[in-house]
Symmetry: C2
Subunit: 643 residues, 2 copies
Amino acid sequence: MGRSSTGRALRRLKPLDVEAVTIDGGFWGERQRINRQATIPIVYRRCRQTGRIDAFRLDWRPGRRRQPHIFWDSDVAKWVEAAALSLTTHPDRRLAGLVDRVVDLIVSAQQPDGYLNTHFTVVEPEKRWCNLRDQHELYCAGHLMEAAVAHFRATGSRRFLDAMARYADYIGSVLGRGRGKKRGYPGHEEIELALVKLSEATGANRFLRLAKYFVDERGRGPHYFDKEARARGDDPHDYRHRTHEVFQAHRPVREQSKVVGHAVRAFYLYSGMADVAALTGDTELLAACRRLWRDATERKMYITGGVGPSAHNEGFTRPYDLPNETAYAETCAAIALVFFAHRMLQIEADGKYADVMERALCNGVPSGVSLDGERFFYVNPLAVAAGATGAGARHQATSRQPWFGTACCPPNIARLIASLGQYVYSVGKAAVYVHLYVAGSGQAEIAGRKVLLTQQTNYPWDGCVHIRVGLDGPATFSLMLRVPGWCKSYTLLVNGKRVAGRSVKGYVRIRRRWQDGDRVELSLAMPVERMAAHPAVGADAGRAALQRGPVVYCLEQCDHDVDVHSIALPKQAKLHTRFDRELLGGTTVIEGEGSACAATGWKGRLYRPVGEGRARRVRIRAVPYCLWGNRKPGALAVWLPQA
Amino acid sequence: MGRSSTGRALRRLKPLDVEAVTIDGGFWGERQRINRQATIPIVYRRCRQTGRIDAFRLDWRPGRRRQPHIFWDSDVAKWVEAAALSLTTHPDRRLAGLVDRVVDLIVSAQQPDGYLNTHFTVVEPEKRWCNLRDQHELYCAGHLMEAAVAHFRATGSRRFLDAMARYADYIGSVLGRGRGKKRGYPGHEEIELALVKLSEATGANRFLRLAKYFVDERGRGPHYFDKEARARGDDPHDYRHRTHEVFQAHRPVREQSKVVGHAVRAFYLYSGMADVAALTGDTELLAACRRLWRDATERKMYITGGVGPSAHNEGFTRPYDLPNETAYAETCAAIALVFFAHRMLQIEADGKYADVMERALCNGVPSGVSLDGERFFYVNPLAVAAGATGAGARHQATSRQPWFGTACCPPNIARLIASLGQYVYSVGKAAVYVHLYVAGSGQAEIAGRKVLLTQQTNYPWDGCVHIRVGLDGPATFSLMLRVPGWCKSYTLLVNGKRVAGRSVKGYVRIRRRWQDGDRVELSLAMPVERMAAHPAVGADAGRAALQRGPVVYCLEQCDHDVDVHSIALPKQAKLHTRFDRELLGGTTVIEGEGSACAATGWKGRLYRPVGEGRARRVRIRAVPYCLWGNRKPGALAVWLPQA
């Protein structure tokens, strides 16, 4: 697409929107069905039960129960977004009616000046915009804007969208560089990427400019959060985290190279930065995104796509610090990584971004919700010890919970799953990209022709993908099929004949004059791999994780007689795969021989010389990590010692 | 000695006191020299500089600096105890004068009713005995009593001892079961074992009874800490730890079987319990001690003798939870474990207690102080990552510090090292026990004869021990020489002739009619062992630690070119030992071949299939864990993966 002054300078691809994509069955279709039938209704119910929805009535008074919390609005907004996205692909009159009523309620809470925040309207009206650092005001605003955009797309109604445009204009009148404005920005990023969406949905460039302001103001000196704290009469240094790194506000963003602080905030910010860079042609900002991407994915990411190892700051510590048992790896953080990856992918058209996106989408994101869609993980450890499931459990949950006080994750995973279609395809210059292999279809327009790609596949359970090209007339373009980073060999047939294709940054390109009904068959070799972590990851030293295709596996206690943490993986042992239709909703398991360290002879001893007692062979069964915790609670192991 | 009604029913051995034992050079002699020349003076200086000593002047007034903190008295008390113990074996007129002045100052702070606490005399006089749970009042009292006993033993002066007896009587008039008394006990145990010492030093049985009261009242319902909180107007549930387990007060102590809560508190309590059980012939209480011992040493102890894995409660979590990098393993907790082990050893005359005592004394205790005696570790991790030594370091210090705000560890290690003599020998029924092999001598009286045992040895650097038996006339008794649990074979000579001896609970017994000048030679085989941890210890799965004799080894970054966390220990590789006179004050190192995982081919990758790239051979050098952190700060590894 080349550079231009239209503001699209840096985005090489445009994703097919949710409305242009269908997902039919399979791994993701099933997840979407459960999301529609269980998760979205449950998130609504919890929002209602806890008072989050009624908060928009603005009838709370001091002394009453269910005082609107500073982040409640965002939970409802994410539910609206999830429901609207779902309605886009799966019309449902009851749900549509419910969404309309909730949207009416939200819009009714808007103040004459455009402001919309339940907490700061009824609980602390005098504190509006007094503490951007801690109070989630702009974070809630951002989620309301995202919800409004999704609602507009699903319904065509501008009511919510217009209200949020008014809110954004009001925010722009209070915050910014102009005279009399506060030069603030959010402690919890989110509004940046939301304003970009609002700008795209409304066509109003001023929202993009406001997003760019928030991106660029962050971390400048004199520090706004300090100034703001002093204005409140607080000591700027007297707050929990004692570092501006927690909000990525330790220096201007375009000078940043290290992924620091709260993980969700970090990746929401980086997503907003990538958006602003792409739409304004800002190569300096893009360079910062590239540096942060590398630091995140080459030094600070679990093999599951989880990010942010530490509970202390819900975020990052030092490079390669990836402890398994105490992994925080918040569900929302893996989702936020997907957002960032997706944006970088559109800018660079490089499969390495899709690799990470798929890693999170197949592992650390879906682990956040139970198979029945009704229970959630906030924290996603990669190891749970045998004794850690009871009273001795440390901070993280070792079984999924029906809800949380801080309930960001359940509605976030609901909207992510509902939005999955948008991650599958993109359109580039005379090219259609297939990033993810998902049964269903994508409808694009290219070279003036309507192209309907229809995928048949059991991916990720096997590597065979059949694609039918539907056209309203012959057309010449490139079909770009992703060859995942984990894949060492593949075969490619077009209409039954082997073709070579050309490898371009993680994609195989088939450029030809396509006819309606052309059939493409891609077979990705998908053996079980033993994966090693970089030598600097101390927690995984000497260990291996099982991965097949994009799916990371784990050992759960309920499949084993011996403590899974006493099982080592013999280097030579053969491992077989088997699709088990009955297990965990139907999944491929990996089975083979493990070596259990000698369990006898330990009476009265905690340590003894190596070699006393004999290791014994045990059968192991590994299941996808994303499906763990759906059976009897117990120990979990991803990284196994090697024997 | 058999059961009797004298109150000594359960103690089979009596340790030789510090005054009867000399330590001459070698591993421990050198530590004691440094303790005298550096640590004791430095602890005094820090106590003085921080206002801890002057606090006893009671001249602090509101608004002034250096407000006496609730635990300051204990730091000064431990310094007095360390100095007095040192004076016992190494007279020093200057130090003696200093001790006298500090003791005068302490005694001058005693109130007319016997009370002695700087904080509650000048800062919050109205709050005396209002918060036993959190305020360390009885803890400070206990340390003052221990100091007074040591001072009495060193100087013969009863001044401090009598003052503390008055204080104990006052405490007994306020707390206890009598009418009008509070039925309280300390949140931080310590006074229990101190009262037993006071009872032994004064001959007054009432102090033992008070100790027994504190032991037995703990954890009874209705819960004293809750009652006390309500009396203060506090919510009993509104405190940091939310569980009485942190003070081992969740149930009566004789019903306890699990080691829980704050580690130092736990082992101070168990030590007091063992004392009370031994001196009152309380077999039920002793049974609880045995259960707690097993839980501690078979499920909850690092290979270094460190205890208490979690920073959260400075203590215990679940069984087998022994993470290496985040190990808390407070120096004071390892010291407290030594106290408990020593007491159980006297009761049971079983070498298994001496094994644990020695494990802590050779590893997790001395690691707490630098080789020059001037810097300290509060926390003793078993792994430090390469990147963890800089700004990204987590809670624990990765280099020794000159002092701490909470400064329990430096004076505690000073008094432990000064008191080492008492751990070496015991006298039993017609028997002398040698628990530890330490160059020097022990003077006992047995069968009416004076027996002087003189040890020559380089232990723990080698396993050869020469013992000369000095007698003022022939005598028949058993010499009980400990055969450590780690030792698989030994030879024993008496006057150059091989003898078999009889093995009795971890000791080899030589019973004969001894003549003055008899020579005993014990050679303990001391090969390098690769140690494994119990299979339930997930953190050490598949890993080995190097141990030789009682000494646990580690790899420090400064001895290696590659990240020590990327080094595996080949199962077959030969390991050699070498005494290096120049290194770390003279120490045996273990050298050999390690396998460093392939460091190349990782560009742009955090994970890759096992087997890409070749492991390469590297020379490894392991040094004793207790000596780590005395050179260039860097990574540390105790448990190595096996290749």
